[in-house]
């Protein structure tokens, strides 16, 4: 119980005083939200690793996924676990912090120090809740661009991310082609599919059906929709895995018992695992943030900016791309990633594409996948040789 209280306090602390650097935009420095709102004084919490070189040419922006955050390669201040991409980012790793200056910012709408629905609305002195304007992937990228400006970086050497992070990578390449030397969208899509919107809707309804959600005003009322958010996380977590991966890990094994209880206790290991995933998630994530970020992904349709022609979005781009997908990913299947590749080809962009054989589902992009590591490090090495004129 004490542990829970500690992590809750740590999670709450991230909102106002995160364990990260924070760029605080001036009140008059407004960000135009796609939804129409204009907000000044936004906070962008971020982590950096490695050193920015004198030419400021070695910066890599990592974009995090739906429930990720800026803690890519350091111990997480709330969970105490290693960074979510520590396997990929670090000294001597494929994204080598001995050579590159790596930046990762908590997305706009998040709950780890960047402004989001759990932040205080300066006009009311209370948490924004649902009064916070709807955030889109483009808004997240606009906010990141402010951070990149602030760091004095003109062109990013690379922008890398998986899933929702991959959407941001694509948006970066579309919105700021001249600022992106290389782009690595992983296990992602140029638009969110109907099936994925459906899964998100299930998750949001679970949150909103929780009486503790209180119409989104739970922070003001001193309650938390933990049950709803946990169910949302459980449902979502299934979509990140694959049937073979689940079967390999859990099979039909029973949890700490020899036989069925003939009740609705977590008899199976998979049930126990999912419940644990759900409960530990609510300790570190804000329910409204979850609504906002899932919505941002739903609204994402890059081709809509160009009359449905994705190729036109990238026409004339000088950026080089490396698209990566995984065979068992049914959330962002290879087909969706190939559409990106086809569009890039059609636009004449320099694009590479690797489909990694893996049975670990969508989550594979976060795991030990040597083929992905080789592709990314090879791509970055090749791009760096061109960038640095070596």
């Amino acid at each position: 119980m004490n542990e829970v209280v500690t992590s809750l306090t740590a999670a709450a602390r991230q909102l106002e005083a995160p364990d990260s650097a924070v760029l605080k935009l001036a009140p008059e420095d407004c960000l135009e939200f796609e939804a129409g709102a204009r907000l000044g004084g936004l906070s962008i919490a971020y982590q950096t690793y490695g050193e920015l070189n004198a030419a400021k040419s070695n910066a890599i922006l990592v974009c995090h996924a739906l429930t990720g955050d800026q803690h890519v390669a350091n111990v997480h201040p709330v969970t105490g676990k290693p960074g979510w991409w520590q396997i990929l980012v670090g000294p001597g790793k494929p994204v080598d912090t001995d050579r590159f200056f790596v930046i990762c910012a908590n997305v706009l709408g998040g709950c780890m120090g960047s402004t989001g629905p759990a932040s205080i609305n300066p006009e009311t002195g209370e948490p924004w809740g649902l009064d916070f304007p709807l955030v889109t992937i483009r808004d997240m990228v606009s906010a990141q661009a402010r951070l990149v400006d602030h760091l004095g970086i003109d062109t990013l050497f690379a922008v890398i991310g998986g899933s929702m992070g991959g959407m941001q990578v694509l948006q970066w390449a579309a919105s700021y082609p001249e600022r992106v030397f290389a782009a690595v969208p992983i296990a992602t899509a140029a638009r969110h599919s109907s099936q994925n919107i459906a899964f998100h809707e299930v998750g949001r309804q679970a949150v909103m059906a929780d009486p503790e959600w209180c119409g989104g005003r739970y922070l003001t009322k001193g309650c938390r929709p933990t049950k709803g958010l946990a169910v949302a996380r459980m449902a979502a977590h299934i979509t990140y895995l694959s049937d073979p991966a689940l079967h390999r890990k859990f099979g039909r094994n029973l949890q700490d018992r020899e036989q069925f209880t003939f009740g609705f206790d977590a008899d199976f290991q998979i049930e126990s695992y999912l419940r644990h995933q759900g409960m530990s998630f609510v300790d570190r994530f804000d329910a409204n943030s979850y609504l906002y970020l899932t919505r941002a992904m739903d609204y994402f349709d890059l081709a809509a900016e160009a009359d449905g022609k994705l190729a036109n979005v990238f026409m004339g781009t000088k950026s080089r791309f490396c698209v990566v997908s995984f065979t068992s990913d049914w959330l962002f299947p290879t087909e969706e990633n190939r559409k990106i590749v086809h569009a890039l080809n059609a636009s004449g962009a320099r694009v590479s594409f690797v489909e990694v054989e893996s049975d670990k589902g969508h989550d594979a992009f976060l795991l030990n996948e040597p083929v992905m590591f080789d592709a990314i490090s090879g791509f970055l090495d090749g791009a760096w040789r061109v960038r640095s004129g070596a």
Binding site: R320, N345, V351, S352, V354, E357, G378, F379
Partner: protein
């Protein structure tokens, strides 16, 4: 079954160990051109073209290992194969499309050839000549499907499902209305046969051939 092209010659397989055709292909490509290399293997040709002729190159390769090797060399290569993925490329996207020693391993060589000349202004195609006299000899006197150092696979394991002769190829080029701009035939030692040699002789003495094709507009080329 899609890994037929996978066994394309630039893989470290015993098939087609000598790659003199790479040099020949490179010679047929104008410096600075936009080039798509289909079945680019580990990227030897693309690298050769990018470093010596300053081309803007792209590749398609089926094997993951091949793609990764290419990507690590800084080449822009996409995982895919000639039979399935050419349809997704827009017309006129490239100046040259290269298909080295792969045509005979595709399901639909005619369709592939047509795609090459839709996507590219010109196509460079190299292939083994099944009418090479040593192969004829093996069928005629041994009554067995030919196996040679150049084509080391037996009939039941070869990825080459659509062998053709130089004359067959020329006939197909004519049928799809394309034009031969240049062609080079190599003998069993990899030496060029004289360009003025009559077709029947090249078809007998040539072990492999490289063709530079162009879209056939009547009265052009």
């Amino acid at each position: 079954m899609t890994d037929l092209v996978h066994a394309s010659p630039r893989h470290p397989t015993p098939e087609f160990p000598d790659r003199i055709d790479l040099q020949l292909v490179a010679e047929m490509i104008e410096p600075g051109a936009r080039v798509l290399d289909i079945g680019c293997g580990d990227g030897q040709l693309l690298l050769l073209l990018e470093t010596t002729r300053g081309v803007d190159g792209r590749g398609i390769e089926l094997s993951q290992a091949g793609v990764n090797e290419c990507v690590a060399k800084g080449l822009a290569v996409v995982q895919g194969d000639a039979d399935h993925d050419l349809v997704d490329y827009p017309a006129n996207a490239f100046d040259y499309v290269v298909l080295s020693q792969t045509l005979q391993a595709t399901y639909d060589p005619r369709g592939v050839l047509e795609h090459l000349l839709r996507i590219g202004r010109r196509a460079v195609v190299s292939f083994p000549n099944f009418a090479y006299w040593r192969l004829r000899w093996q069928i005629l006197f041994r009554g067995r499907m030919p196996v040679s150092s150049h084509l080391p696979c037996t009939w039941y394991e070869t990825p080459n499902i659509h062998f053709c002769t130089i004359r067959d190829f020329v006939a197909l080029v004519d049928e799809i209305g394309a034009t031969v701009v240049r062609s080079v035939t190599l003998d069993g030692s990899g030496n060029r046969l004289p360009a003025n040699l009559p077709l029947p002789l090249r078809n007998t003495l040539g072990e492999q051939a490289v063709f530079l094709l162009e879209r056939g507009q009547k009265g052009k080329g």
